[in-house]
Structures are given as structure tokens and as C-alpha cells.
């Protein structure tokens, strides 16, 4: 949130995460080089760089893909989610080094345009065992370029959250291309059961976590609310943690009921910034804080504190004994609603 765009939205915590990312990347490359040279001292520096950064990019991509489902399953992973954008750009840099060195070593030393050479140096497109795998890596790198280059609030705001999200879902196409690139490529030359096993394990973990978190989300959607007339019974007040929320699906819309300072307030669960799940965030400095990028809303009116202008819908709550009831009719975005006191 700001009145102009910043180069990078850093804060104390994000700087720490970024330092950890850079150190971990350096450590991985050094370890990879040390192990490779120990077992095969004749490996050239170019090959070493290509393999080190290629494998690093794949590992980082797996981490990026599992952060979302992991944070939905366990909120202690949320801090990593806050920094996923920086992790994605770092992964693209690793992939770019891998791709750049590969193009330089295998395609740039002849008299054919290097990009043209990627597509034409091996024209065996009909073969599975000799498929020109470089082409798959090239398209994956193009997708990663689009994702990394649009990882800025300017694009989120000007492409619209819907288009931005759709663009960034292309990470799954890049993942499929990379898996095919590695299987068809590296294994043509070096069939290592260890590497194949690792890649298959990664795929199972990524898809498994997505399935489990989707099942959990489905359960939230199916959470039963019952009641008569205008009020729906949602839960017992003790089920909501202090300064946190519980999410319910009310008439096909997700609503987050927050408990704070002896009060309860309900707002629409979707953040205006990027569609983040507000109910998975917490109350910080009196504001509901989106877990994805820290956008804030006042719980009693769903408005971002001035000078910001984002607004979400609010809902009316009532408490009978210790049971929370909600009026399913949403108020207009930013409408003030008296919090329910307990």
C-alpha cells in the first residue's frame, strides 16, 4: 500500500527472508559444485553452472508450488507465503542463468542465430527418446520471464487482479514443461534413477499437497450454517482464536468472522489487492491484515485506513449465549457495522 510505486516493498522481515534466500542459493551452488567435482573432477565450469542452476531452479519451483497449499493446511507456513514473490523472481534468475549458459555453450558458438538453433539443431520432434528438449525449457523460461517481470504491484493494479492471477497460474504450465524438459533431456544423456526418483517424489508432493488443501477448502465451503429467518447460526465463540478469524461460506460467499478486543466483526474474506484470504490473516494494530501482502482493513467497516481506498463488504453479527449468528445479507463495501460485544 502506498502513494507511489516502490522498487521493492521491503520491510525488516522481508529483508531477513531475502537474505536467507540468497544465502541458501549460494550454499546450494557451492555444495553442488563441491560434490560434482569430488565425483567427477573433469566436469567443465560451464556444465557445472548449467547443472547447478538448473537443479536449483527446479528445487525452488517445487518450494514455490507447495507454499500455497502448505499455508492453507498450517498457518505457521504463512510467513514464507508473504515472501513468495521474491522467491519466484530469485527462481527465475536461477533458471535464466541455467538457460543463458546452455544457449551460450550449445547454440551460440556456430553461425546460426542461437534462438533459431534451439529449435532447429535437433529436428527429431516426432521422437520421444530424442525429442529436442531444449525447446520445452525455452518456453518454460519464457513463461517464468512473464511471471517474474509482472511480479510488481503496478501490474496487479493495472492488469486487474483477475488477469494477473490467470497469468500467474501459468506457473503450472511452466512446471509441466520443466518436468518434460528434464525427463526428455537430461535423462537422454544420463539416466540416474536417483534424479528420476527425486523428480517423481517432488511431483507427488506438489500434487498431493494441492489435493489435500483443495479437500480442506471444499470442507470449508460445505460448513453447515443453520438458523431461521435472517440469522444463520455459525459457531461457538470459543471456536474463534483471539485476533484471528474463522471462515464460513454464507450463500456461496466466504466470510471471515474476526474476534478482537472483546468484539466480533464479519467481513468478506477476499482481499481487494490480490484476492488473498483475509480470514487467514490476523489483527495487527487494530486492522485485519491480509496474509499475502499485508493490505489492511478496519474490522468494523471493511475499509482500508486512510489514505488508502480499498473496501470490502461487511456483515451483521449477533451473539446468543455463546453462539455466534450472522445475517447472510452483505452490506455494501465499506459499510460501518457495530461490532458484536461479548
Amino acid at each position: 500500500m502506498g502513494l507511489d510505486y516502490q522498487l521493492v516493498l521491503w520491510n525488516k522481515f522481508k529483508k531477513t527472508y531475502d537474505k536467507i534466500i540468497v544465502l541458501a542459493m549460494l550454499l546450494y551452488v557451492i555444495l553442488f559444485a563441491a560434490i560434482t567435482l569430488t565425483f567427477n573432477s573433469e566436469t567443465s565450469i560451464e556444465t557445472l553452472i548449467i547443472r547447478a542452476f538448473g537443479s536449483l531452479a527446479i528445487i525452488m519451483l517445487h518450494i514455490i508450488l507447495i507454499i500455497g497449499p502448505l499455508s492453507r493446511l498450517n498457518s505457521s507456513f504463512l510467513p514464507i507465503l508473504y515472501n513468495r514473490r521474491h522467491l519466484g523472481v530469485s527462481m527465475f534468475i536461477a533458471a535464466l542463468i541455467h538457460g543463458g549458459f546452455s544457449i551460450f555453450q550449445f547454440h551460440a558458438l556456430g553461425d546460426v542465430n542461437p534462438i533459431y538453433s534451439i529449435f532447429t539443431s535437433n529436428m527429431d520432434y516426432g521422437s520421444l527418446t530424442n525429442f529436442p528438449f531444449q525447446v520445452l525449457g525455452f518456453f518454460a523460461l519464457l513463461i517464468l520471464f512473464v511471471l517474474a517481470s509482472t511480479s510488481h504491484d503496478f501490474f496487479l493494479s493495472n492488469l486487474s487482479a483477475k488477469i494477473w492471477k490467470r497469468l500467474h497460474m501459468m506457473v503450472y504450465i511452466a512446471y509441466a514443461l520443466i518436468i518434460a524438459h528434464v525427463f526428455l533431456g537430461a535423462f537422454q544423456q544420463e539416466t540416474s534413477t536417483f534424479t528420476i526418483g527425486l523428480l517423481i517424489t517432488g511431483f507427488i508432493i506438489v500434487s498431493g499437497l494441492h489435493l489435500v488443501s483443495a479437500y480442506k477448502e471444499h470442507k470449508v465451503d460445505k460448513t453447515s450454517t443453520n438458523g431461521t429467518e435472517n440469522w444463520l447460526k455459525v459457531c461457538d465463540i470459543s471456536e474463534i482464536e483471539e485476533d484471528r478469524a474463522k471462515i464460513f461460506t454464507i450463500q456461496n460467499e466466504r466470510v471471515a468472522i474476526f474476534k478482537y478486543d472483546g468484539k466480533l466483526s464479519a467481513i468478506h474474506n477476499v482481499c481487494k489487492h490480490q484476492g488473498g484470504p483475509l480470514g487467514e490473516g490476523k489483527i495487527i494494530d487494530g486492522c485485519i491484515t491480509c496474509p499475502w501482502h499485508g493490505y489492511q482493513y478496519l474490522p468494523h467497516n471493511g475499509q482500508s485506513p486512510p489514505p488508502f481506498t480499498e473496501k470490502v463488504s461487511t456483515y451483521q453479527l449477533k451473539l446468543e449465549n455463546k453462539t455466534v449468528f450472522i445475517n447472510p445479507k452483505a452490506f455494501d463495501e465499506g459499510t460501518e457495522v457495530e461490532p458484536c460485544k461479548y
Binding site: 502513494l3 510505486y5 533459431y116 529449435f119 512473464v146 509482472t150
Partner: protein
Amino acid sequence: MEIVVNIILAVLGMYFLIGILFGLYFLFKGATKIDPLMKDTKKKVRILLFPGIIATWPFLIKRLFKSKSL
């Protein structure tokens, strides 16, 4: 197959070329028209946005035309 390769590369090349030309205009003029926050945005931030503008120019052109027709 070579014809398909030539077509793909020509389309990609054209896409990026138009993106670069549009990006140069958009970065220093067009962006301010659709996003008031760009007015006070520093030059180094605009340069950082350049690759993304090249990548997504069809969407941004659409926004620019929409803002002009309003």
C-alpha cells in the same frame, strides 16, 4: 516443421518488438494516464517495470484505449 519454427519465432520476435516500442512510450507517458500512482514513481522503478510491460503490452494497450474513450 521448419516452417512452423519460422512462424513461431517470427510471431515471438514481432511480439517483443512491438512490446519494446510500446514499452518506451508507455513507461514515460502512457502509464501516468491510466495509473495516477505512476506520476510520482521514480525512474528506476519505471525501468524495473519495462520487461513486464514488454511481456503484457496487449493488456496495457487495451487499458490505455479504454481510459482514452472515457
